[in-house]
């Protein structure tokens, strides 16, 4: 079982290679339950790879990853257990196009947690209301806008009752006018006390919600700071450059 008193995520000395390419270098990171961490950095800096290691969508090559007290290793049982407790929202939503919104939401609770259908549907409707989209429950993903699809994807993850939510650039594929509807949902999720690790370029969101901002570049964590310090007095030169680029306009 996962240990409720444990840290949400512990990463120590973690390295990841793609062939000869050193994608993640000696990553150390701890996230406490309820904490909101925003990860930013230029593209190719390894931020997506890092959070994808947390639920084993990518395999790390060395070092330690512990999620809710369970070590992430070759034990398939551990991987399954961690994935049940860790939700993930993707850049391209990845809803299942051959199922209705409601089916998307009840699938995993019914298959993985063996929740009876009626109960799973009731829970799904509760979360669809939370992301303000209950009226679309019977539609197919292809009939929804990008912003709506991403909100459904968040609801689908929440239906598993995760203790940690990972967001991998959730607004990067959206038209500008749809970004705020997704960020609003994420802000309300944060205020409910969810543990969140978000890879995002939305600096406004980071300022408002994050307990900590992490800056990554070339596979390394370059700087970690609270948002106030991070945006007003970044120490590292690369951080300063990056911030000048994303906030310069």
């Amino acid at each position: 079982m996962t240990n409720p008193a444990a840290r949400a995520v512990t990463i120590e000395g973690m390295n990841k290679f793609y062939g000869g390419f050193h994608a993640l270098k000696d990553i150390n990171l701890t996230v406490d339950p309820g904490e909101k961490v925003v990860v930013c950095g230029p593209s190719g800096s390894g931020k997506s790879t890092m959070i994808r290691c947390i639920n084993r969508l990518e395999e790390h090559n060395s070092g330690l990853i512990e999620v809710l007290g369970t070590p992430l290793n070759d034990d398939v049982g551990n991987i399954d257990e961690i994935r049940r407790e860790v939700g993930m929202v993707f850049q391209h939503f990845n809803l299942f196009p051959h199922m209705t919104v409601l089916e998307n939401c009840v699938l995993a609770p019914m298959l993985v947690r063996k929740t009876p259908r009626a109960q799973a549907e009731a829970a799904a409707m509760k979360y669809l209301e939370k992301v303000r989209i209950p009226e679309q429950a019977q539609k197919y993903p292809g009939q929804l806008s990008g912003g709506q699809q991403q909100r459904v994807a968040i609801a689908r993850s929440l239906c598993m009752g995760p203790k940690i939510m990972l967001f991998d650039e959730p607004t990067s594929a959206l038209d500008p006018e749809m970004i705020s509807e997704v960020l609003d949902v994420m802000v309300s999720l944060a205020s409910d006390g969810m543990t969140m690790i978000c890879v995002t370029h939305e600096m406004g969101f980071a300022r408002r919600v994050a307990d900590r901002v992490i800056f990554m570049d070339r596979g390394e964590i370059v700087e970690t700071a609270d948002p106030e310090t991070f945006f007003t007095a970044p120490k590292n030169e690369r951080t300063q450059q990056f911030l000048a680029q994303v906030t310069g306009h």
Binding site: D80, F90, L95, F96, P97, Y140, G142, M160
Partner: protein
């Protein structure tokens, strides 16, 4: 509001009338008009020739003699009236042919039932196929309930064609899914091995595979492993079907975005859950047009079993005109058989089109 008024309101031009459209599409220039008229004339000539042969100058009297028939300039449908039982039932004993007819109805009912979206659950499909196949087998083979035993070597005609087709698909389709999944295995030994196997089967002609299973396999396998010749041939055809269909399904799988499997993993779904609920349903949608094509080809390829001594519908047709007085009436027999093939294959194609329309809405 009339059409014209509505268009006047919306500011759209009124759609052209039918005469206007014809003129625009087919008679825009003198050359185009000439080609249109020639084409139309050619088409009308073919239609007239066929209709004249098949209907206007044809003999429809079921009791006409071969001489009367020969005298007519058109088709002699008398041969069908007199020999349809041989075409449909082959060498199956005359008094028992009702069983063969009932068996055909069983197969058709089984296929229609399993094509209905409401039967698409594992349990229902399994029940339909199990009951359908058992019913077919009992009807055809007999040996119980007062029905005399009739061995597979005397099965023939449409019943045999349908039986070979359906069993080939029932064995070949699940096998193709297994092959396609194994070919995607992360273990190179398995994926390469299966790839080699598929390529090997695909590089052999179906005829040689049928020969091998009918004639060569008995020398290689111990007695207790040898099923009857018909079942060996069906297994060979199923293997051939599976090799092609596996590649079609693999193509369909490649069209499923990797994000789909990642999303399923992140939700905690295991390999079989991901495969059965996320990967295969979408892969099958992508592969549907090619799959229908494969079914159509397999249906028509059942006629190849003639070379290993089975009288499916085409071979039975040969027998129907080949004996006695009707040797001149081969055209009519082949036209009749072509019509039977057409009814089955065309239904299959229309069903495929229906599925594609359904999928366009997302409901599959």
């Amino acid at each position: 509001m009339s059409d014209v008024a509505r268009h006047a309101v919306s500011g759209q031009p009124a759609p052209p009338g039918i005469g206007e459209r014809l003129r625009k599409d087919y008679f825009r220039s003198p050359q185009q008009a000439l080609i249109s008229i020639l084409g139309l004339g050619f088409f009308a000539w073919i239609l007239w020739t066929v209709a004249n042969w098949a209907i206007f100058s044809a003999v429809f009297d079921g009791d006409a003699s071969p001489e009367e028939c020969r005298a007519a300039s058109g088709a002699c449908w008398t041969v069908i009236a007199q020999r349809w039982r041989i075409i449909l039932f082959g060498l199956y004993p005359f008094e028992e042919q009702w069983r063969s007819a009932l068996a055909c109805v069983t197969v058709v009912a089984m296929v229609v039932l399993s094509c209905l979206p409401s039967s698409w659950t594992g349990k229902r499909l399994a029940a339909i196929w199990l009951i359908g196949t058992a019913l077919f087998y009992v009807l055809m083979k007999g040996g119980l309930l007062g029905m005399p035993l009739i061995g597979e070597e005397r099965w023939g005609g449409l019943a045999l064609t349908l039986f070979i087709f359906v069993t080939t698909c029932l064995i070949g389709f699940p096998l193709s899914i297994v092959l396609a999944l194994l070919r995607r295995s992360e273990l190179p030994v398995i994926s390469k091995g299966i790839g080699l196997f598929i390529d090997a089967v695909r590089s052999l002609p179906l005829l040689s595979i049928l020969f091998a299973f009918a004639v060569v396999v008995p020398f290689m396998l111990p007695q207790w492993l040898q099923a009857g010749k018909l079942y060996r041939v069906i297994f060979g055809a199923a293997l051939f079907f599976a090799a092609y269909q596996a590649e079609i399904i693999r193509g369909g799988m490649q069209g499923v975005a990797t994000g789909q499997s990642e999303a399923a993993k992140s939700l905690g779904l295991g390999y079989w859950q991901r495969t059965s609920r996320i990967l295969l349903p979408q892969a099958m949608r992508n592969a549907l047009p090619a799959t229908i094509n494969q079914f159509v080809i397999s249906f028509k390829e059942t006629s190849l079993v003639i070379v290993v001594g089975f009288f499916e519908i085409l071979a039975s047709g040969n027998a129907a005109y080949g004996t006695g007085d009707w040797t001149f009436a081969y055209r009519e027999v082949y036209a009749f058989i072509a019509l039977i093939y057409f009814v089955f294959v065309f239904s299959l194609s229309r069903y495929g089109a229906y599925l594609e329309r359904r999928m366009a809405v997302g409901e599959l």
